[in-house]
């Protein structure tokens, strides 16, 4: 099996029409087999167009895509045998019972009766959904429906998973279950996963590399760690007062000279500053307010969300 799961070369897609729109603009990247790859970007950045092309559902205007060595443009059917897809909406089988929906999906993905039955049961147990097995998919709550759809994407043992907002509408416990399953599939089975999400705080915990798209282009592509460091180079000092009060104006001005001070909510502050200034800022807060008046006090590295917002701001400024 090739070491590269997905290879995209000079991929361009232009939506035809009077006012032609370039949705993907000369994209080139590779995803090694067994990587969890995050695809981020604002609405209209071209993520969905890229996903549709990766699935072989949209013929590129130019450029090429290979999925596990298969030319997706020339042999989309062959490529689709290796791909599991979880779209945000539009999943059928709503009037079928949960277990049947899983089984049917497996059969449609080419599994034998035995394999489909076995995997459907295994997934029901894995997601603790046995009590839902005979419920109609359409009668499930939003979160349970999403979980069933996620399980449907796993049927047939795909080598590459393309998941669009997999944790939408899920409660914290189920969200954790989905992320753990993705990690488990990745580590134990070597499944490659392309994750399209806006939930950066959660995605950060599982993705190994991230691409940020804007206006049809990839404006950043790196590991979350490198991206966070290179984009902001700053850390955050967060503190919360026991009373929902404001800090003295003198302290605010002193902190403001060290970094950007944000009042998150009454009594809760975040200061984004260079690592060298952390100790001075901490001293100022503790000496002028006192530890006994603080409910919370912490220093944290920038999050993927911070990096994303910084890169977005830089791009906006550049344009």
């Amino acid at each position: 099996m090739p070491d590269i799961a997905v290879k995209v070369e000079d991929l361009t897609y232009v939506y035809p029409g009077k006012n032609a729109v370039i949705a993907n603009d000369h994209l080139s990247f590779e995803i090694p087999r067994g990587e969890i790859f995050g695809l981020l970007g604002p609405n209209g950045a071209g993520k969905t167009t890229l996903v549709l092309q990766l699935l072989g559902l949209l013929r590129p205007t130019s450029g090429q895509i290979w999925l596990e060595g298969i030319d997706v443009v020339k042999a989309p059917q062959q490529a689709s045998q290796r791909t599991g897809f979880l779209p945000q909406t539009g999943i059928p089988m709503r009037y079928v019972e949960v277990k049947r929906a899983l089984y049917f999906t497996g059969r449609l993905r080419g599994q034998t009766h035995h394999d489909a039955r076995q995997q459907a049961q295994a997934l029901l147990s894995h997601f603790e959904m046995n009590s839902y097995a005979k419920r109609f998919v359409n009668d499930l709550s939003g979160g349970m429906l999403r979980l069933v759809n996620f399980a449907m994407a796993l049927m047939g043992n795909p080598h590459v998973l393309i998941l669009d907002e997999p944790t939408n509408e899920l409660d914290p416990v189920r969200r954790r279950q989905v992320w753990d399953t993705i990690t488990q599939l990745n580590q134990q089975e070597g499944v490659t996963c392309i994750l399209v999400t806006h939930n950066l705080l959660e995605a950060e915990q599982v993705v190994q590399r991230v691409a940020i798209m804007r206006a049809g282009k990839i404006i950043a592509l790196d590991t979350p760690g490198t991206m966070k460091l290179s984009s902001t180079g700053k850390v955050r000092l967060e503190f919360q007062l026991k009373a929902a009060a404001e800090i003295p104006a003198r302290l605010y001005d002193s902190l403001d000279q060290l970094g950007a001070v944000d009042l998150v909510r009454p009594g809760s502050y975040t200061i984004t500053l260079m690592p060298d200034d952390v100790s001075s800022a901490a001293d100022l807060v503790i000496s002028q307010i006192g530890l006994q008046e603080l409910e919370d006090f912490r220093v944290s590295p920038p999050s993927l969300e911070d990096a994303y917002l910084t890169i977005e701001k830089q791009q906006l400024a550049a344009t």
Binding site: L58, P76, L108, N157
Partner: protein
């Protein structure tokens, strides 16, 4: 979880029939949940039609008129349940994005379309048979319920459902599909020789009628109910069969599975 390394795969022609079976089953299971609507539209509507049409004016209860009314009601049922329902179904799938999901699966487009078509057939067939049986019983008229009638009902349902597939495939907006199909429903049923003889229509409508499958369906159905199996009957069946095949090929070609 089951190991992802399991690699027993069904492929080739077996895979086509498995796709067909499970896609058809999925459609049928949906009908299971909405059977009451199916009952209203598939059965009661054609029966009401027979009841109402035979009371037009001073009453149309002579044998010739009754044959036109009951066969016409059967063709109407196929137009409504086959053509209309399928055009709207494909339009809804496109709007909701379901079509993209199906396209992302390793299934054959032909199996997908055939499954939808066959599931519609199951819904449409009783609705076509009921006006024949009900009309014959209500007015005590002799009709010849033979295998040709059954075959013609199935073929008519297929032919009209194919038009629905083609319309659903080529028209992008669901609203436009509904408007066009509603207009077409009346044109196909009222402006052709479905409820009236061909020679009672003005010449332009007669010419247009030769292009429409319901013309051949209704004419052949009347012959079969009479028990008249002459050359004209076989010619009508042949043309209807041809239009069915052309319709299916056209819908397979026009449905944008991969854009």
């Amino acid at each position: 979880m089951t190991s992802l390394t399991s690699a027993n795969r069904v492929s080739g022609i077996s895979k086509f029939f498995i796709d067909l079976k499970f896609l058809w089953l999925e459609q049928m299971l949906e009908i299971r949940r909405t059977w009451y609507w199916f009952l209203v539209f598939s059965l009661i509507l054609p029966v009401t039609m027979v009841f109402g049409f035979t009371r037009i004016g001073s009453g149309l209860t002579d044998y010739a008129s009754l044959i036109f009314i009951i066969s016409g009601s059967a063709v109407f049922a196929a137009t409504n349940e086959g053509l209309y329902a399928l055009a709207v179904r494909i339009g809804t799938m496109k709007r909701e994005g379901t079509l993209i999901y199906y396209a992302s699966l390793p299934i054959s487009k032909t199996a997908f379309l055939l499954a939808i078509l066959l599931s519609r057939l199951v819904v449409t067939f009783p609705g076509m048979l009921v006006p024949l049986v009900f009309g014959a019983w209500l007015y005590q008229i002799p009709i010849n319920l033979n295998l040709w009638v059954v075959a013609l009902l199935l073929l008519t349902a297929m032919a009209l459902a194919n038009i629905g597939l083609v319309l659903g495939a080529v028209i992008s907006s669901l609203e436009l599909i509904q408007i066009i199909v509603n207009i077409l429903l009346f044109v196909l049923v009222m402006a052709g020789p479905i409820f009236s003889p061909m020679d009672s229509l003005p010449l332009p409508l007669q010419v247009m009628s030769y292009l429409l499958p319901p013309t051949y369906a209704a004419t052949a159905l009347r012959s079969a109910l009479h028990g008249t199996f002459d050359t004209v009957f076989y010619a009508n069946v042949f043309v209807l069969l041809g239009l069915t095949v052309i319709g299916f090929l056209l819908s397979s070609r026009l449905l944008r599975w991969r854009m």
